[in-house]
Symmetry: C2
Subunit: 450 residues, 2 copies
Amino acid sequence: MNVIKFGGSSLASGSQLKKVIQLVKEDAARKIVVVSAPGKRSAEDEKVTDLLIGFGMKALVGHDFSAVLEKIIDRYQNIAEELGLGTEIIDEIRSNLDSLVKGNKNEPNYYLDAFKASGEDNNAKLVAAYFNQEGVPARYMDPKEAGLMVTNEPGNAQVLPESYEQLAKLRDSEEVIIFPGFFGYTKDGKVCTFSRGGSDITGAILANGIQADLYENFTDVDAIFAANPHVVENPIGIKELTYREIRELSYGGFSVLHDEALQPAFKSGIPVQIKNTNNPSAPGTRIMKERQLTEQGVIGIASSSGFSSIYIDKYLMNREIGFGRKVLEILEARGISYEHMPSGIDNLTIILQTNQMTTEEEHSLLIQLKEELCADSVTVEHNIALIMIVGEGMREKMYTMSKAATALSENHINIDMINQGASEVSVIFGIQAKYEDLAVKALYEAFFVK
Amino acid sequence: MNVIKFGGSSLASGSQLKKVIQLVKEDAARKIVVVSAPGKRSAEDEKVTDLLIGFGMKALVGHDFSAVLEKIIDRYQNIAEELGLGTEIIDEIRSNLDSLVKGNKNEPNYYLDAFKASGEDNNAKLVAAYFNQEGVPARYMDPKEAGLMVTNEPGNAQVLPESYEQLAKLRDSEEVIIFPGFFGYTKDGKVCTFSRGGSDITGAILANGIQADLYENFTDVDAIFAANPHVVENPIGIKELTYREIRELSYGGFSVLHDEALQPAFKSGIPVQIKNTNNPSAPGTRIMKERQLTEQGVIGIASSSGFSSIYIDKYLMNREIGFGRKVLEILEARGISYEHMPSGIDNLTIILQTNQMTTEEEHSLLIQLKEELCADSVTVEHNIALIMIVGEGMREKMYTMSKAATALSENHINIDMINQGASEVSVIFGIQAKYEDLAVKALYEAFFVK
């Protein structure tokens, strides 16, 4: 039995929904369908979720919301008309949206979360109606009825472990279950949404709950690519990835889907299949616990910018037990997290996200570091990009570093920092941000083309 | 005006002393001569300092020391006879050694320090006598008279800053000054020795005190070599080195002379010239504040083994502000220092010197780390060697890393860790210790032969 999740663009129009039903019909294992809210039909279009946030904000502060409300209903109506659905479902959606306005405004976060969640919830009802009309017995499943219980953290809800036992019962359904993504219910019966990748999280929770054989995640790309397609022309798709690899790639800046959203599935060792609704014959990407290692150690190249490095110099630093600890204590007291901390004999560098501090805060941090550590000098450099090469077993391949360093050197890119040593799955290079794209291209060329 | 220091092997015999006087005669700038105790004449020989330690230990505990005492006197006597010196100097030395036995045994560290220091002290007297006999006006200088004052730390004395003003007066001497290395006097008049490289320290202190133009350090090698000559056959000598480079090389395992011994000279920006007493025409190595950078970025390759790595794995580690700090706190509480701490997303590695812990202590540390940090796993690996490539401006050379990684990969050496990012003068590779020599050879080949 599979959980199959569709993203917003796969549900943005009636024609998209026809692809969805086709996919569900094709494979009897596809019994639990998780749906997002209708996404964009074109680059200029608006997502229903974004419209709902606007609607909720206006309702909360008492402004006139009728225009945005009609826009939302229009979106559902367009889909319903395209699919030849009756007016009943639209009446039901309108009545639901009307009822949201009457929520408890004294808890604005919960108030807004109910608006946001309705995008998925109403879409699930619409999809269920469509499936039944097309002769696919289907049932809309209310997360409350299913027992998907979450913590009281609007916008960042965490699943409660007791949910899994309840969700396991979904296995027994005769009908296809249409489950709205993105939210659950708190113990006191309030709607509460997940963080980013919200519908992906719902799918992963259900996959774990029913102990699915496979969690199929349908989106609008053919695969997770070995490099950012905005940087590298036609990068190859990755056929197989391990949990650890997707995690490193996500950290490195890959945004197809966030590894943490998939954790509930990973925890049970359930494989995740990424597929394209618009091109389902493409092999896609399978993410699993272990994979057959190929000759090629590296499977992907990620990058992100927006980092700074703080360089601290002090004679005899490495004799001073506690120096590194003091540095980290100063950062911690300011709530600043660091990415890497390479240390030499008399010096230490901290790589951190630049946006954690204003210019004033940074200035005051530098002064504090110099004074409290009696450092000889403390300097900062901005505009650093981290480039990551990722792959299980890469470390066993002796030529990896040689290949990577040669590719960068041939492109006249200086390496300011290398972090190899902690993760067995990745190596991180720090370079000047202006070379970020060039570095990704050069490394892609070296590992995937040559 | 130069300070010129001679090591033990340069003073081990009369024939060596003939070379020494020749060198002093050659250059009128060589006005301050720092001497060590007589060293080994051959590989099987004993150093006078080692004999003195044996003598002192026996005297301290009341054992019969006559045999070792005669051995010591014999060494001086042989030199004196070879040089045609009269018996007076030997009588003076015997009387000095006899007087040491009567020292205060209630302070055994100071008691022994006086024995150790006498090796240099008596040798300085002998050298002064020889210089005068040969028509070079020379004067033995008692460190107490010169004002070389040190802290009360037997075996690890530190110079007191007020010494420098006193030592500056040595500039005014008409005669060549023969100054015993290795020790000074405490404020309460006790002999106290320096740590390792003791005579090197004395020379550096005097160079600073008289604001020497040059500190010449005569030893028994032609130069500081670009790699360990026991590993690489006939490595090239390094002609010029900066203070930072010698510091990195010393850390990396180079033992010709320890950079910290030279600090008093470095502080004043005084250049240090390494020369071979037995081959003074060889250009030697000059160590200075700055040097002309050459095309070749790398100037030396160092290595040392005896390291372990502790690998800590915990899901979502990099979200946990304070994780690195907690790790370092645990180490600090145990008095353990670390060399490097590369960190990934979910993992962190600590590289440290293996000999800091017994097997039991290590075991208990691993358990503590796992429990207190709620880590998913904590594992340790032993037998790690650190290989260091060193050179000012090396980081500006993009091909450095590429060349190094290629050399290692071609020799099938896997890189477990790379530390590049803190120091601008070095890159450190962690590899399995069994490949240490092979790695040094491969890197030497890549940077100095090809």
